[in-house]
Amino acid sequence: MLKSNVTKLVGIFIGIILVLLLMWSSVIFGLTKITPQMVIDAFSNFNGSNEHIIIKDVRIPRALIAAAVGANLAIAGTIMQGLTNNPLASPSIFGVNAGASFFVVFGISTLGISSLATLSWFAFAGAALAAVLVYVLGSMGRDGMTPVKLTLAGAAMAALFSSFTQGILTMNERALDQVLFWLAGSVQGRDLQILISVLPYLIVGWIFATFIGKQMNILSMGEDVAKGLGQKTIIVKIFGAIIVVLLAGGSVAIAGPIGFIGIIIPHISRWLVGIDYKWVIPYSGLLGATLLLLADIGARYIIMPAEVPVGVMTALIGAPFFIYIARRGFDR
């Protein structure tokens, strides 16, 4: 679609403007009517009114969180699809989100942890464990890692960790109330504090992600070719895994497991800018933020005055897309 570097760069700027506009919309639209003037007043001339509190404590954190989490999941999915050469790879399909969720639920309910910083480490650990398990299971056997084996291993891990999570919740009803809305995946009602506490890890992930594109281009020509060109492929894979764990784990810590962004967006980005990961990764970030902001704004209007968890929204959009990709096959 976008051929020259100039048009791709223009696209990046349009994407940034789109994300900013949607963040603005996310602050304005919703059950409580907010006008642009109120937003300005909430900062320059705070009067403690309901609207001003909603703007500062609810709407703005929500917009920031939706943008960050959407970008994270999309970048993590892009890197997973690139490294595993598997069009179905994504943090939710491969059990990374489920692993992180299980660890967080375990931490909250069984160990009684409430510190956000500690819980985010649980999320990272769960994401890392799931990623390693899927990689090992998917690589077992003589023919090594194949897309089909990897997808099966991912589905099995996702199911396993989800059942563990449900097991904990059935045994512990009080925990159920605490985590149920979080488990469905939501960017609403989150404290900005939790975004701030994982932000350093996210920034590390984003920095790595901007540098890994060129290396992924080499690796996408095949392991042997990449090694022949002198690439240390194992290091690229390790860095890729670190990015996935930081971004997907961090997102789960903030917003719970939100599915389908990680699988849809990489395909749309590649359709837009082609196969050069130096472009695909930033486009995925912007488009992921766009999709989650849109889904979150939409989630406010479907059963107003109540809200649909945004994870349900992304599933509604994502499931048909997933079937489309799966039917198209593993030929890439």
């Binding site: 281009n217 080499i218 996408s220 020509m221 095949g222 042997d224 070719v225 090694k227 022949g228 060109l229 002198g230 690439q231 240390k232 590649r270 082609g274 196969i275 050069d276 890439r332």
Partner: protein, 270 residues
């Protein structure tokens, strides 16, 4: 001086041994062809020489230095490998693919230079794919595609070029085209070429040096005209054949025994 050599090299996967304690040297500036029956380990040996497969024991020496101990991008400036099955990502253009050959020369600080540009141009011209530069790799014919991949390894500007069955899946015309290209690279630029080839007669025609692998060992090596005999082919491949001379090049030509129609006596060459 030897370009590449292996010393008491043993290779294998898990607990199976594929190559057992081989030592050999690849002559510099020559074309060396590895032959042997399917699964004899000739591709495995080639992969190990390109450090794609770590040895179980022994070592591969590149200009007298152990390849495992050299920085991998340093190796990539001296030796390039074209694996047996290559797969370009969908949508990649010829130019993009060939440019990747410059990877070992780049770093965070040193991005694309004029020297890179010249190397890519030269590689595109040498393989006669310059006019295809903007085409998508997947839209090319098998022969064109193989020339593009060879162009990528040429852009690496290495003295040594390893190729794993570069003519497989190609029709006769394109097989000759690829081998002629490699021959020219050897003759005009004195590149050392090592490849695995299935067609024995073409191997005899293009190789300066043949290495026959059998039972995890080097069975025989040398000039084709000195080593290719009916006995060797029987022992290495288990095939009865008659060795005569290639009417075009005078190199050994193996004509296998077997069934099939026989016109001898009924019809002479006309």
């Amino acid at each position: 001086m030897d370009a590449l050599s292996v010393k008491s090299l043993t290779l294998g996967y898990d607990d199976s041994t594929i190559i057992d304690d081989i030592s050999l040297t690849i002559p510099k500036g020559k074309i060396t062809i590895l032959i042997g029956s399917n699964g004899c380990g000739k591709s495995t040996l080639l992969r190990a020489m390109a450090r794609l497969l770590p040895p179980k024991s022994g070592s591969v020496l590149l200009h007298e230095t152990e390849i495992e101990k050299m920085p991998t991008n340093e190796v990539a400036k001296n030796l390039s490998i074209l694996p047996q099955s290559t797969h370009a990502p969908e949508g990649l253009t010829v130019l993009q693919l060939v440019k990747q050959g410059r990877y070992p020369y780049q770093s965070w600080i040193k991005q694309w230079t004029e020297e890179d540009e010249r190397a890519v141009d030269a590689a595109l011209h040498a393989t006669r794919v310059y006019d295809l530069a903007e085409r998508k790799v997947e839209s090319l014919s098998g022969g064109q595609r193989q020339r593009v991949w060879i162009a990528m390894t040429l852009a690496q500007q290495t003295d040594i070029l390893l190729l794993d069955e570069p003519t497989t899946f190609l029709d006769m015309t394109h097989q000759i085209e690829i081998l002629d290209l490699l021959y020219d690279l050897n003759q005009l630029e004195q590149r050392t070429i090592v490849m695995v080839l299935h067609d024995l007669n073409l191997a005899c025609r293009y190789a300066d040096h043949i290495i026959a692998i059998k039972d995890k060992k080097v069975f025989e090596q040398g000039k084709p005209e000195n080593i290719i005999t009916e006995e060797l082919i029987w022992k290495v491949f288990g095939l009865h054949c008659k060795v005569t001379f290639d009417p075009f090049s005078g190199t050994p030509l193996c004509v296998p025994y077997g069934k099939g129609r026989k016109l001898k006596g009924e019809r002479k060459n006309d």
